[in-house]
Symmetry: C2
Subunit: 202 residues, 2 copies
Amino acid sequence: MSTERPVRVRRSPEAARENILAACEAILLEKGPQALKLADVAAGAGVANATVLHHFGSIDGVQTALMTRMIRQLVERVAVDFSQHQDAVGRVGAGARALFDAFGTRGGARLAAWLELTGEARRMTAIRQAVQEVSALRMQLDGPPDDGAVQDFMLVCISMALGVGLFGATLADLLGRPPERIREIALDLIEARIRQETGAQG
Amino acid sequence: MSTERPVRVRRSPEAARENILAACEAILLEKGPQALKLADVAAGAGVANATVLHHFGSIDGVQTALMTRMIRQLVERVAVDFSQHQDAVGRVGAGARALFDAFGTRGGARLAAWLELTGEARRMTAIRQAVQEVSALRMQLDGPPDDGAVQDFMLVCISMALGVGLFGATLADLLGRPPERIREIALDLIEARIRQETGAQG
DNA sequence: CGTTCTGTTGACATTTTTGTCGGTAGCGGC
DNA sequence: GCCGCTACCGACAAAAATGTCAACAGAACG
């Protein structure tokens, strides 16, 4: 009957990119990285395939942009929590907590796992950049004494946060355990070590 | 010159499948799951595309078989290390160490990450099976007292082992730290907690 | 209004990946 | 030796995914 033609929304370039990347993030969280097909992304964003290509050049460009965006968000989130605490000691605990939050939500750990699994050179630069940003942030707040032991411990915390963030929910579900307990226990391990260290030294 | 025709090797069905899956494993470890294309698998195994399909039906069948195989290998490896120790207390430490070994080598953590990222129902059954096997194994060795706290702690250990196994090497490399330190520190965290627990209780 | 700029699109072309099919060839049994 | 079974293969078909293009249509500006 009616000759209704489809309404065509016209966004600013930034809004258009943002819209598409948001759809990508949803897909990544819900179905994993292998589901980031051009057609799916376009459908999720409610635009045509060609529109996605117009803004990002290729599906590879989309993925790169998505990584950059998610890494930036992740670093910012950690930075906020990190800078809440004034004392260096409390900051380590808060920092660990921030790490677990960052990787446990919004697919931070899934992104990292994806990067690790695909692990091409181009993508590694993204991770390297993130690590350097966090490292620089910490140094800016706590000063230079970033000796090896501290760095190693940080890496352990990051690895733990990633492991718990990526697998914690699934594992807990498999054994019918409450999911948040894993996170708490892991954080407790870290904080116990910190208390022990500072207690011995101070 | 010569009319040399390509020698055609003829394997038993089991050997043929094994050959193909071994090639898959190499590809998975080296290039990640997204590189598990039919053509690459066939080339890696030194057979024709059609041969791979003949044995597994579809590329999906290949991936499922690969997961099953790797999970079985992983469970067996953990089981061996696990049963080395007689006392239950030492077994927890040895078990943690076995977990870290299992997930840190032969792509155990990468397999788990792959399963987690793709995470479809069919694949989840594979993980569930593995968890149940390990759980049954532990119960067979240590008896039934598998209360919630113990389970939760086990899950934390598994998550840590996975996180360290998957990201440890890359993270250490990014900061120029020796890779094995992360593992040692993480294990130390676990064992410290065990000593504390057993010391308080016994 | 008319013009320009460009975000948007469907239709189509290209490339990549998967799957099918008829025939070939190694191997054990007789 | 030959026969049946089936692992194996090349060639081709089908499907899926990516990318191209010319044209359409909002929005700002005169």
